[in-house]
Amino acid sequence: MVTIETLKKRKSRRFSSDRIKVFLFLIPAAVLLLVFLVIPIFQCLYYSLFNWNGMGPAEDFIGIINYKKIISDNVFLRALGNTFAIVGLSLFVQLPLALFLAIMIGRGIKGRAFYRTVFFLPYVLSETITAVMWRILYNPDPSRGFINAVFQAFGWKMQDWLGNMNLVLFSIFIVLTWKYIGFHMLLYITGLQNIPRDVEEAALIDGVNKRQMLTYITLPLLGGTIRTSAYLSVLGSLQVYAIVWIMTKGGPVNASEVLSTYMYRFSFVRFQLGYGAAVAIVMLIISLIFSVTYMSITRRTEHIA
């Protein structure tokens, strides 16, 4: 236990002169972010104040009307709800599952490399093909759709996975889990590797059993990684786009609409680019609120530790 405490102690260092130079380390990233990210954000902010169909310059200034419309649009609220549902499911289903698998195949299992490669494979495949493949798996006709074929074989009730408005979001979540579980698992496996083995060996000598080891040593030491992965998962879920768009286009009738598909529909299908830009800004604000809150909370807990 003492070892952990010492490990966790990350006291602030004294300021020394060569540290100033270190700030130069931030310059390359900062320049890129400024040019390709901050300028676009301001441009978006500007467009969001216009009624603009994207053809030629934006001229019809309408102030914050786009924002007012967004907030009062039921479809937007639906998209927001769906997005939050995906965030929640990801946090409380996908991540624990990824952690479970990571701990299971992280060590002490034969063919670790095989499992690690297989679980990461879906992440390697592009979102386009993921969506197209799962569309086929979800085909309601059991002679074409594998999932209903399995259901049929077991005598379960076959489902219209993407056509049933109550089921479609869940069906999409399964695909997202399939795709991203490998990502989080990779983070956890890397985090596990970073835990010095001597800590665990010492614990073993002290007679700690496996379950105690997990709850008192492995998980706390993995804390930072779990927080990071949760943070990335929330922000990633807020931006989920291609898979939903290709699989359902947000349908049937907005049942699987998420913020990004809502934004995309207005920008690239309806050519209401001013409105689309406003949606993008709203998405940014939601993400920022989460991120700022998260950071202030974790910083507090890190300081306590």
Binding site: V22, V38, V118, L125, L273, S291
Partner: protein, 285 residues
């Protein structure tokens, strides 16, 4: 002695969880593998077979799709472009992000929180959303139809994620190491290059794997910034088989299998470093 006795009794109790563990593992494997196997099967079928019996094994396998794609000169141009873009962006992401992550993980200064927040913006404003203004900027820089623009943009949009991940891993490296290095007369930057980076090899490999995959699978940025087919990447090649009124799924699958191979190879290579890196590190520590 008593230790091994304890182990024996533990084993007996633990046998049920072990079975459970394997059941879960097998289910998870099936869940992951079935769609992938179907894609591979799909690449070895005709278009009609794919639509009609998508999950049956291809008997006999039709190698025509694969051969056809390998014989397309454009496939190899695209392969080259994809490799160039991916390697350059990944290198860029790893270098730039490890530098900034180091600052955020290891150095305390006023306003660090807000600055770090700024560095995470890329997670909140994805390239899909920013693509219209990005096009304008690239056009102003005169970098249209130039792979450099694709590399720069793709690098930028991965800085945030990589910085967040690396910062976490850098923080986990014991600070005693830094103290020791300082006492030995090492500067902060020296510590970064000589001690931290070699120690963080698994983390760097993990971030590189993610960067490779994300770059490799980009579609929109390249689509918007590049007009010339010869400069397109493999993901854009996929759309050669998608038409206005439908798509040739078997050719798409075949193309995707071929297109995914380099990324998979890279990952298999990288994961060795992810897993083996620390053994070397802990000896030093």
């Amino acid at each position: 002695m008593s230790d091994s006795d304890a182990k024996k009794s533990l084993k007996f109790i633990e046998i049920i969880p072990v079975i459970l563990k394997y059941i879960v593992l097998v289910l998870a494997l099936l869940f992951i593998l079935v769609p992938i196997v179907i894609i591979i099967f799909g690449g070895l079928k005709t278009r009609g077979e794919f639509y009609t019996t998508p999950y049956m094994p291809p008997i006999p396998p039709k190698w025509g799709n694969i051969i056809k794609i390998l014989n397309m000169p454009i496939f190899w141009y695209m392969m080259r472009n994809s490799i160039v873009v991916t390697l350059a962006s990944t290198a860029g992401v790893v270098i730039v992000s490890s530098m900034s992550a180091f600052v955020f993980a290891r150095i305390d200064f006023k306003g660090k929180g807000s600055l770090f927040q700024f560095f995470t913006l890329g997670l909140m404003f994805p390239a899909t959303v920013a693509i219209l203004p990005i096009f304008l900027i690239v056009r102003q820089l005169g970098l249209q139809n130039n792979l450099i623009s694709v590399i720069l943009v793709l690098t930028t949009f991965q800085i945030s994620m990589s910085t967040v991940i690396l910062r976490n891993f850098f923080m986990e490296i014991p600070s005693e190491l830094q103290d020791a290095a300082m006492i030995d007369g090492c500067t902060t930057i020296g510590f970064f290059w000589r001690i931290l980076l070699p120690l963080a090899k698994p983390s760097l490999a993990a971030v590189a794997s993610l960067a490779v995959v994300n770059t490799w699978n980009d579609l929109l940025v390249t689509l918007v910034l590049i007009d010339k087919e010869r400069l397109w990447t493999l993901q854009l090649g996929v759309m050669q088989f998608q038409g206005q009124y439908g798509q040739d799924l078997s050719l798409v699958s075949a193309f995707l299998i071929l297109a995914a191979i380099p990324a998979v190879i890279f990952y298999i290579f990288a994961q060795r470093h992810i897993v083996s890196g620390l053994t070397a590190g802990s000896i030093k520590g």
